[in-house]
Amino acid sequence: MSDVVVARSLDEARGALAEHPDATVLAGGTDLMVEINRGLRRPSHVVGVAQVPELRDWSIADDQVIVGGGVTYTEMMTTPLADAAPALAQAARTVGSPPIRNAGTLGGNLGTASPAGDTLPVLAALNAQIVVVGPDGERRMALDEFVVGVKRTSLRPGELIVRAEMDRPTGRQEFLKIGPRNAMVISMAGLALVADHDARAVRCALGAVAAGIPRARDAEAWVSERIDWDNGAGVDDSVADEFGQRVAAASSPIDDHRSTAAYRRHAIAVLATRALKRAFAQGDPSDA
């Protein structure tokens, strides 16, 4: 049997984690309870953080969106957060079913650190800083410093994910994900792409096609020079196609029971090409 502490404030959560630095943090439970029910994990200590109000906070500024670790997928899908971070909303919409989205949280997605975690490519493409607190105070990390392997993070004993602080660029954001059916799927391949008009940069990150959440930095740099930032013209097909190939080169997928490496690499190229075209398409964006 696990010893469970239900924290009602950030201080209580920090205190409980200080006392049991090896404790497992429980938020929505949509990942943890699956593992416990399958007997894959038997944590000796659990700190429940679903009732920590500080983790439920979010805020929107002109150039930044801050989302607390306890914010649910449903909240990410809802205005005004959804308007401020559209790709985050698009990713959240692909997670599970409504009950799962009502329970699961951004902090949980980060803490599980699965390559298939749907919000993670979005956070990477939005230059998110992950803020954690622990016995030694607060630390801030970029996503690629936070996620260090398959279901591995650089969280230290006693540390808790508090929030993610992400850019709010002026351009469009796209999240696209492939699964074996039209909803409620684990990602076979996913991609987030952001057009940052102020920085004159395209940023693109990949899900479910590597041990971590790779940014396609070479492809980003290559395509950012080929965008007509001043006149807002669309992207040439040839540029979009080559961008797709260059993004795919940043993936290192595997064969598993969900798909094949060859398909995943191919799919990333198609998704990248489409996402780029959408991000620079004329007219109103479709967020559907």
């Binding site: 699956v34 029910n37 399958r38 007997g39 698009q90 919409r93 692909t94 796209e174 999240f175 696209l176 994900k177 492939i178 699964g179 074996p180 059916r181 039209n182 909803a183 409620m184 799927v185 684990i186 076979m188 996913g190 598993d256 029971h257 969900r258 798909s259 094949t260 060859a262 398909y263 191919h266 799919a267 198609v270 998704l271 489409r274 959408r278 479709s286 559907a288």
Partner: protein, 772 residues
């Protein structure tokens, strides 16, 4: 044809199906009416007790230790660490099975607990009973099994010549059908090799039940199953006690689709209960459920069709290989069905079809909705489209030209004497107006759905058509019957039948039949039990509406005759001039009436009948014979949008027509058709048990995906083709299986039409299209 159904065994009286001449009362609550399910409201309110909800004082939880290996010898088992755990009451191994060590539906080749050898991943090795489910699970994990892992046999085609992995050998059944002049060849031939993956029934309610021991050495078992009496037979044999000492009651069933035909936890629960002297409950987890029941046979099929230049079929050649997995289950019947129906619902003057069901170290395969006909339908319908292309002919016209019907013969030589309106079903479905389905602006309605992968401009549309058929009821000489009892007292009818309600709606139908036959309103359904009534047979093979419906009808008619005889005698009239209607006994001349409640006050009018269908024959060495009772066909037209670059498919519409004989409950008929199509869609596009050297890679609903509401299209029922079947009660055919048979093939055809690709395998995976 009139019914030849009629003979009887002990205790019951003879019943005969009377068929299309019956006067059907389409009243508001009787046969033909849209009556709601008696268990419908409790189910949607969460008040229905499923088999996982069973409870008793002071009961124990059972758990099963399963093999992690596809093939291994067991060199030793140390149960010491498990026995030593506090809260553990029993740890049982193969030696603790007191009776027959094996069981099976057709061949008893499957150990109740593995003895010295395991042959598939998930095979039960040991049982634990403990006072808490977690303790039972941990105790099972604490058992130390010394395995010597051996190379698994996982290729069904190689199995017949490989070293035997079971004393009974590696071949469950080989069947050859030789029909007509095998030397003929067609002016046009088309050839193809097709594959079907391993589908799971994916019912929602996992295996569960509770066994309660009695002091006299008997045991009572509450369990979700498809056939109580055949469970009892197998359980009693393994326990080594008389069948009367094993009493089964049907517990609430959360879906079946064939997966509950074989035993799962039945013997285990009874062993633990008798050993501990306490009630024992088991509920499989979802992951365990995937290992704990049989699946649909994966198939490899080679076909060559011969036709003349007008498109008339001349000959069909086929070779069908089914992977039966480690134990026999119903493989021998499934391969017979696959072979008998391999040519489809067409007039085929010559056929040479060979079928093989082989033993491997893959998970055991057995019954699933469609039962062999699903696999070969994908084969023959793929071939018909290929033939149409070779002939430059419309695929629907080709099918109409060759459609089988009454007076024609199957490739087994059997003359079709009942209804079999293949051409009408094809016409009604194929020529139904096509709904305008605009490409949506909302990406969630396009391929890829909520993943936002696809815009309308990325898609191509295709339409495909398929028709399929199968037998109703058991075949090949099996004396199939159902038993039912009816009692009328104080104007209320009580029906007793052991028919397993697995969701198909028999409980509704039994009430409708009693109302129609007896003119009563209130109909009580007694629990389905082995102790109170004889066997109802299996809730499978689309048979219960006919068989148990027939038994209930016959029992009610016998009671009606008793009542009318008594009243007629009292009134001094002929019983022929009396009817039961609206709770009254009424004379047709309108002169006399009496309340049925008064006529039957305190009385015990009752009848107990056994209903048999017309006998069938075994197949001879050439696969010829009148092996089947009746047939039903259905057609499907699928419209799909495909994103060829990503290989994603969105089914937009399924239009269907089905040969139903007669509709007895319209809403339930629609439910069967929509549900069956969903299962067919799953097989076409996503549902597959993924195996790696016998290891199941996706034993969960996370990775074994079934269609969601976003995947299911609108279903348009173009027509119920109602041609009452002679010999069937009320003329009704079973309707549960045909929706699953040809829907997969129609969807595959639509994807081919959209992409121009061959796509010889279902489920069609994204990579098959995108990289194909």
């Amino acid at each position: 044809m009139t019914s030849e159904a009629a003979n009887t065994a002990a205790g019951g009286s003879t019943a005969t199906g009377t068929g299309a001449d019956t006067i059907v009362d389409v009243g508001t609550r009787g046969v033909g009416a849209d009556v709601g399910r008696p268990d419908g409201v409790p189910k949607v309110q969460g008040r229905f007790a499923f088999s996982s909800d069973l409870w008793a004082d002071d009961f124990l939880w059972g758990h099963t230790l399963r093999s992690p290996h596809a093939s291994a010898l067991i060199r030793g088992v140390d149960i010491g660490p498990a026995v030593a755990m506090a809260g553990v009451y029993a740890v049982l191994l193969a030696d603790d099975v007191p009776g027959c060590p094996t069981y099976g539906l057709e061949h008893g080749d499957q150990p109740a607990l593995a003895d010295g050898q395991v042959r598939y991943v998930g095979e039960p090795v040991a049982l634990v009973a403990a006072d808490h489910p977690d303790i039972a699970r941990r105790a099972a994990e604490a058992i130390v099994v010394d395995y010597e892992v051996t190379e698994p046999l996982t290729d069904a085609e190689a199995a017949p010549t490989a070293a035997p992995i079971h004393p009974d050998g590696n071949v469950f059944r080989e069947i050859t059908i030789r029909h007509g002049d095998l030397d003929v060849t067609g002016e046009v031939t088309v050839e193809g090799v097709y594959e079907v993956g391993m589908q799971d029934q994916a019912f929602m309610g996992p295996e569960s039940g509770m066994a309660l021991p009695d002091e006299d050495g008997s045991v009572e078992l509450f369990v979700s199953t498809q056939w109580l009496h055949v469970d009892r037979e197998q359980i009693a044999a393994c326990l080594g006690i008389d069948e009367e000492k094993v009493r089964l009651t049907l517990a609430g069933v959360g879906g079946a689709f064939g997966a509950r035909e074989d035993l799962s936890l039945q013997v285990h629960l009874c062993l633990l209960a008798l050993h501990t002297g306490k009630p024992v409950k088991m509920v499989y987890s979802r992951d365990e459920s995937f290992l704990g029941h049989v699946h649909r046979h994966p198939a490899k099929m080679w076909y060559r069709h011969h036709a003349d230049r007008t498109g008339r079929l001349v000959k069909v050649e086929a070779r069908i290989v089914l992977d039966g997995g480690a134990y026999a289950s119903t493989s021998s019947a499934v391969i017979a069905n696959a072979s008998c129906f391999a040519a489809g619902p067409y007039k085929v003057p010559a056929a040479h079809i060979t079928g093989l069901a082989a033993r491997t170290n893959n998970p055991p395969c057995g019954a699933m909705r469609g039962f062999g006909a699903v696999q070969t339908c994908f084969g023959h319908e793929s071939q018909m489209d290929k033939l149409a292309a070779a002939l430059n002919m419309d695929p629907v016209e080709l099918r109409l030209l060759n459609a089988i019907g009454p007076g024609d013969r199957l490739v087994t030589g059997q003359l079709i004497t009942g209804t079999f309106p293949t051409a009408e079903v094809i016409r009604q479905c194929a020529y139904a107006p096509e709904a305008e389905i605009p490409l949506s602006d909302d990406r969630r309605d396009l391929p890829g759905g909520s993943g936002r992968t696809t815009d309308a401009a990325d898609t191509v549309r295709g339409t495909g058509f398929a028709v399929g058929f199968k037998n109703l009821m058991f075949s090949e000489g099996y004396d199939d019957y159902s038993s039912a009892a009816c009692r009328v007292s104080d104007g209320v009818a009580t029906i007793t039948c052991a028919c397993a309600e697995v969701g198909q709606g028999f409980v509704t139908l039994a009430q409708q039949i009693a109302r129609t036959e007896l003119g009563v309103d209130e109909v009580i359904l007694a629990p389905a039990q082995t102790a109170t009534i004889g066997s109802a047979g299996s809730s499978s093979a689309s048979r219960q509406t006919w068989m148990s419906g027939g038994a209930v009808q016959a029992a009610c008619r016998e009671v009606r005759a008793q009542i009318l005889a008594d009243v007629a005698a009292e009134w001094g009239v002929s019983p022929d001039g009396l009817v039961l209607r609206d709770g009254l006994v009424v004379s047709l001349d309108g002169q006399q009436e009496a309340l049925l409640a008064q006529v039957t006050a305190g009385a015990g009018y009752e009848a107990d009948v056994e209903y048999h269908h017309a006998p069938t024959e075994a197949l001879d060495e050439n696969g010829q014979g009148n092996a089947h009772v009746s047939f039903a066909c259905a057609a499907h037209r699928a419209t799909v949008d495909v994103d060829p670059d990503l290989g994603l498919v969105r089914v937009r519409d399924i239009t269907t027509a089905q040969d139903v004989g007669r509709i007895l409950n319209p809403t339930q008929a629609v439910g069967q058709i929509e549900g069956g199509i969903a299962q067919g869609l799953g097989l076409a596009l996503m549902e597959e048990i993924v195996l790696d050297d016998g290891l199941v890679r996706n034993a969960s609903f996370t990775d074994y995906v079934i269609p969601t509401t976003l995947d299911m299209p609108d279903v348009t029922i173009a027509a119920f083709v109602e041609e009452p079947e002679p010999g069937a009660p009320y003329g009704a055919k079973g309707i549960g299986e045909p929706p699953t048979i040809s829907s997969s093939a129609a969807i595959a055809a639509a994807v081919r039409a959209a992409t121009g690709q061959d796509l010889p395998r279902i489920p069609i995976r994204p990579a098959d299209i995108a990289l194909g």
